[in-house]
Symmetry: C2
Subunit: 258 residues, 2 copies
């Protein structure tokens, strides 16, 4: 949690408390509903005070781990203020023709509040409260890339990436569930909800070079591409940073929150 | 390093020294050749004393990291006494027929000194001094599984696994470079150098069940299979231990040696 937010949060009597070292919810908030309601009130006030950017009207599930019983639910835009782990799905949309691989790359809309014009995976999205990873994938594929459920459901879960960075006004300890979706050469994703302005099918070497030589990809999408390159044998073991790349993509939670 | 070995090692004057906390090589051993020669003398004596099991006549490269300049070389069987990281290659030999995957599973020879009769990957081996990961793969594929170089060279590097355990008289902080080798349905690996007694082509579900329900696979080969199952979409994100599995296979070095 950002230190400069602590004094403000402690003004919410009956919600937060501290013993000077640890900071916690008032133990009288002893169930999911009461904790969620208290957090909703707090975030509504912080929003009015201009302390939360980019309100989403999307709820996140807050739990000790993905799939663990939820402790509370809260507005997505408030999650970074508390360092709450978010879970997302990212899809590599690729085309195989013989030995050649190509990858669909999206360019984010110039009007997006965050990361406008940057390159992106074919579709991606945060797992919202009440949704699973696969459901999120099917929904985002349809909404963002106009990929019908019958096609999106062919996507294979191929791992997960964890990172932790500062962003969106706080701390983002994110987990991305990664999917590979092999698309036929005659299928074209199309921008749906306006998140993505255009899709381009690039030879995989061009995608790899762009990740290596530029910051054109949104900061977390490059990780998803690097993971794809490793899993498909397109980065060799004689790459000096091979182990650092493999392990950097999968740093366990205790590295970030000992 | 095993604590009970420390007093014996300190008897090697001019080789090891300690300040009571750290344990190190005598700084007068200031180059690769002198360090390697001193270590060879030490290990030869420890072998006579029965402190080293399973002498291999194989040399390991000792360096700060894979590919870093070597600090010294030493007999493989002595590496666990000093907690030296070993690097190996493990190959998933699999067959794809339509949507169905099968995997070649080896059964280790009953006369092997270590892990006799246990199940194994199609081929595997430690990276010896002066060899690269891919060279090791080509060599082991030929020697262990009678897979010709023209076939083995189709193997794709798909990642790496790190673990650390006690074994072979010391500590084994191992890195396995993982390769996927897709074999045609009419190709059959054959035992070569006697490490493997027989090969069996099993449906992937049978392999997965054996890994889940038994300890029939050699302790590190099961990790290689689990990694294969994850990368090929055969373990879904709703598996409760999904993140623990993905991250457990890629624990970074600093987890083991802070």
């Amino acid at each position: 949690m950002a230190r400069d937010l602590v004094p403000r949060l402690l003004e919410f009597a009956g919600v937060f408390e501290t013993d000077g070292a640890a900071f916690s919810l008032d133990p009288r908030l002893d169930n999911f509903e009461s904790r969620s309601a208290a957090m909703a009130d707090v975030l509504a006030e912080l929003r009015v005070e201009g302390r939360i950017n980019g309100w989403r009207d999307e709820l996140f599930r807050v739990a000790a781990d993905f799939g663990a019983p939820p402790f509370l639910k809260m507005e997505r835009a408030g999650a970074p203020l508390f360092g709450v782990t978010s879970y997302g799905v990212h899809v590599n949309g690729f085309v195989r023709e013989g030995k050649d691989l190509s990858m669909w790359v999206g360019r984010r809309s110039p009007s997006k509040p965050n990361y406008p014009n940057m390159l992106d995976n074919v579709c991606a999205g945060a797992v919202a409260f009440g949704m699973g990873a696969r459901e999120t994938l099917i929904k985002e594929a349809q909404e963002e890339a106009s990929i019908p459920a019958a096609v999106a459901s062919q996507a294979k879960p191929v791992g997960a990436i964890r990172y932790c960075c500062e962003g969106d006004g706080g701390l983002r300890p994110d987990v991305l569930f990664v999917y590979d979706l092999e698309l036929s050469a005659d299928f074209k994703p199309k921008p749906g909800d306006g998140e993505i302005a255009e899709y381009m099918l690039w030879p995989i070497d061009k995608v790899a070079a762009r990740v290596r030589d530029s910051f054109d990809f949104k900061f977390n999408c490059n990780l998803v591409v690097i993971d794809f390159l490793i899993r498909h044998g397109l980065i060799a073991t004689d790459e000096p940073d091979y182990l650092a790349l493999v392990e950097g993509l999968h740093r366990p939670r205790e590295i970030f929150a000992p």
